[in-house]
Symmetry: C2
Subunit: 501 residues, 2 copies
């Protein structure tokens, strides 16, 4: 991992994302702090979290829905920059940011400015059916925003309302492309068109999606079938018997375990090839493979660029489409706009899914994945232009404030701090790892990790869980070394407290 | 159908929706026109639709995604009230309203007012992870808005980002409740929790969802498996072999064919009971049944209150949950807030799904459908509070302007006009039917119906297709008798033109 972190720092001042011929990310070593003049100077804890006000609100909300996952109620009016304020007035440094979905901190002035402009209001109050009667400026919005940050070589884009819908439709696009290839590009037969109406073959084919243990791609029936991060996401659902391959279980720091990690990755890749072969023989061919650049909900499981290059190669050789799920890793939190840029793939993935910090769900796709008939990738709204209007402010902030550079810089500093803590408390903290500020640290078990999250929250830092025993860190792109230092100090005191040191 | 239409008119001045003890829809015979001072006085067609500007924009958009379903590009700034303006300046009376999703016309002043208020902006720029850290006013928003219009007897609500996600999660809730009942309320076993992680039984059970031919519940993998309205929605997808029952194919007007329609409904209900029994014997029990109060995309197929009462009874006797999909029929377009109010069900459906005009996806559910563990019905956003802030303005408009009364009144007038046309042109138009302004008319075949849509559009009326040969009418709730008269006149001239009369 250190190799990567070093690589990030080395590229500062020279990396750029070139798309459609335009240089979007200006080269600069200048560090600009986001304009949060009202941002608190540090956490301030006035009650336990959740405090009495949150607990009262919880009782009320619990009357009308299950609230078991609610951590606290927030006061979004008072939240600012990297700090979230809860209903009891506790000010917490937010390193979870609505499950990694707040791109440039709370109440960023540029986002407020979007709302203040009357010319934007019409987009918020007249939500169109984008597939049927899009607004006149829709292509311009897609080109100017979503496609301005498209992964290299990808020129097609489809918006969706949320992450789960994004994956569902990514799976659909892979199925549709697979079957079109099977037909040799011929139009569907009458038998196919009629049989699919009752969910029967040949129109409804028994084709499959390959996914990895520890993956988390979404919560709807298709997306959860490709997810394997928690039983809560899957239990009791009608699922699909799709191939599941062990994601490589690597040792950290990666650069100290290269040889054994390579073997482990090789084992996983062999299983990928085997399962693709076996399912093909069984008449249930694999149409697509879903993978996250860094498995996130599953516990920040990394794999090497070599692994992803080989995975792409195996997929390509077998006519299996590769979907890179960047819903959590995309939009800059690794220090590159898309995490898979680290992998130097010889060609783009077939589909790259986005969501969360991008303000909208959606996916980029290669020409081969483009449906050839109307209503194949469709629903009433297929996205929301008002989210792209907000994204415009986000992207200009990332650009103007050189936030990718900031993330790389802060990320290196944060990871260094986490490493120091695992060396200092080796019996308690381990496996410090990260790309940019997308970082993680392990604790001995689920219970200790959960106690760390609670302890941190009560000291004014909001974090999240990942996998069985990982602390998941997902700050906004505006997170600075100064914020990291505040966090690292509180992290150490929480470790000391929880270990009775 | 006439019986229903008459019934609607008879209840004007007395119907109300009572929830949580508060009388929400004031009794009144007063007609208030929505405040659209800028609304055009009629259609104005200056080019073919799509015109040259739309065609140019289409060429551009087609570079980056499939555009085969796009009808024209719209100018939402200029659209007002019941009129949509396209990119070429054509002014069309909109009777499709973004696939039935614009509740109170374009650019309603009350919605613009929401945007003008600074105190609302924070909700638009800080989208929370509602399941984890909801805003302090979330319960108040849910109680004050979504639950203020909940179907009688339903007190639980879950928001979602869109309609497809809504159905996916409705299916999940039914699966989870079914399996909890199977366990007798006991917690899941370790074997169930581990097996589901690889999509295997017993954790991933082979349970099923019963749906009807002609149904359209959504576009994601689970929702499409319960949908049977068009091959484009289903072809090439990995589907699920779930029971599908013929939806009753009734003769219109319903009141003239009561005896044979009852027989037809009885046949369908027998098939429901048979399939539930058969799938149970096969070890693939039916956990839930999805149904629309009026099948919409499938071609406005109606069934009688008796049918729905019997369906609920059969479901109840067999431990099958009933999901009433009101995504298209809900929010007032039938003259009642929820279409299933017409059915006088002895108890609420287990789940009532909403979307479209409600500005947000989501569903109401009975206590028995409530998940008992965290993260069972979950994703990053699970909805969007900014949509509820907009919904607040929609609901207050419906209330203040007595729009349910208006819809009933206009609907009766519209249906009467459609009836007159089918009597006048019996060789061409047939099966006029509707509840409120949710109306439909059939033409001889798909091609003639499509020509009607094109002809109407070029005369300044925007409508949509339904099923094989239906014209689907879905105006906003602000549609008046005056608008209906404009439409009926243009409809007749289009029929005459298309028939060479």
């Amino acid at each position: 991992m250190l190799i990567m972190a070093v690589a990030i720092r080395n590229t500062i001042g020279s990396h750029c994302l070139k798309n459609s011929g335009s240089l979007l990310w200006a080269v600069s070593s200048k560090r600009v702090r986001s304009d949060f003049s009202q941002e608190p100077i540090g956490p301030k804890v006035v009650t336990q979290v959740p405090g009495p006000e949150s607990l009262q609100l919880l009782t009320q909300l619990d009357q009308i829905q299950n609230t078991d996952a609610v951590a606290f109620f927030a006061d979004y009016d008072k939240s600012c920059g990297n700090y979230i304020v809860d209903a009891d007035g506790n000010v917490m440094l937010d390193m979870f940011t609505q499950m990694a979905s707040i791109p440039v901190g709370y109440n960023h002035p540029k986002l407020k400015e979007v709302m203040s402009k009357k010319e934007n209001w019409t987009t918020f109050v007249n939500r169109p059916a984008l597939g049927v009667s899009p607004p006149g400026d829709w292509t311009e919005l897609l080109n100017g925003q979503l496609l301005s940050v498209a992964p290299l070589g990808m020129k097609q884009v489809q918006t969706m309302a949320c992450g789960s819908c994004t994956i569902e439709n990514g799976l659909k696009a892979m199925f549709i492309a697979h079957e079109r290839r099977r037909r040799g590009g011929a139009p569907p037969t009458p038998e196919e068109m009629s049989s699919c109406m009752c969910n029967l073959p040949p129109g409804s084919a028994d084709i499959t999606i390959l996914s990895f243990t520890g993956a988390s791609h979404g919560w709807t029936l298709g997306a959860q079938a490709a997810s394997h991060a928690s039983w809560q996401q899957k239990l009791d659902l009608r699922s699909m018997k799709w191939p599941v391959v062990d994601f490589p279980c690597l040792k950290y720091p990666l650069e100290e375990h290269e040889r054994e990690n390579r073997l482990e990755e090789g084992r996983s890749l062999s299983e990928v090839a085997d399962k693709i072969e076996r399912y093909k023989k069984d008449g249930r061919p694999v149409a697509g493979c879903c993978v996250e650049p860094v498995q996130s909900a599953g516990g920040d499981n990394h794999a090497s660029p070599w692994f992803f290059q080989q995975l792409q190669q195996i997929c390509k050789e077998n006519g299996v489409a590769l979907l890179m799920d960047e819903i959590q890793t995309g939009c800059g939190s690794t220090g590159k706009f898309w995490a898979h840029e680290y992998f130097h793939l010889p060609e783009p993935p077939d589909i790259v899914a986005f969501g969360k910090k991008m303000m909208t769900g959606g996916f980029y796709y290669r020409e081969e994945m483009r449906p050839q008939e109307p209503f194949r990738i469709f629903n009433t709204w297929v996205g929301d232009p008002s989210k792209i209007v907000l994204l415009r402010a986000v992207l200009s902030t990332i650009r103007d404030e050189h936030l990718l550079d900031l993330v790389s810089d802060t990320g290196g500093h944060l990871l260094k701090g986490l490493r120091e803590l695992e060396l200092k408390y080796p019996f308690y903290a381990s496996n410090a790892r990260g790309l940019g500020t997308l970082c993680s640290l392990d604790f001995p078990n689920t219970s200790e990790r959960d106690q760390m999250i609670i302890g941190l929250r009560n000291r004014g830092v909001n974090t999240g869980p990942g996998g069985e025993r990982s602390l998941r860190l997902r700050p906004s792109l505006t997170f600075t070394k100064g914020h990291a230092d505040i966090f690292l100090e509180i992290l150490e005191s929480t470790i000391q407290n929880n270990c009775n040191l």
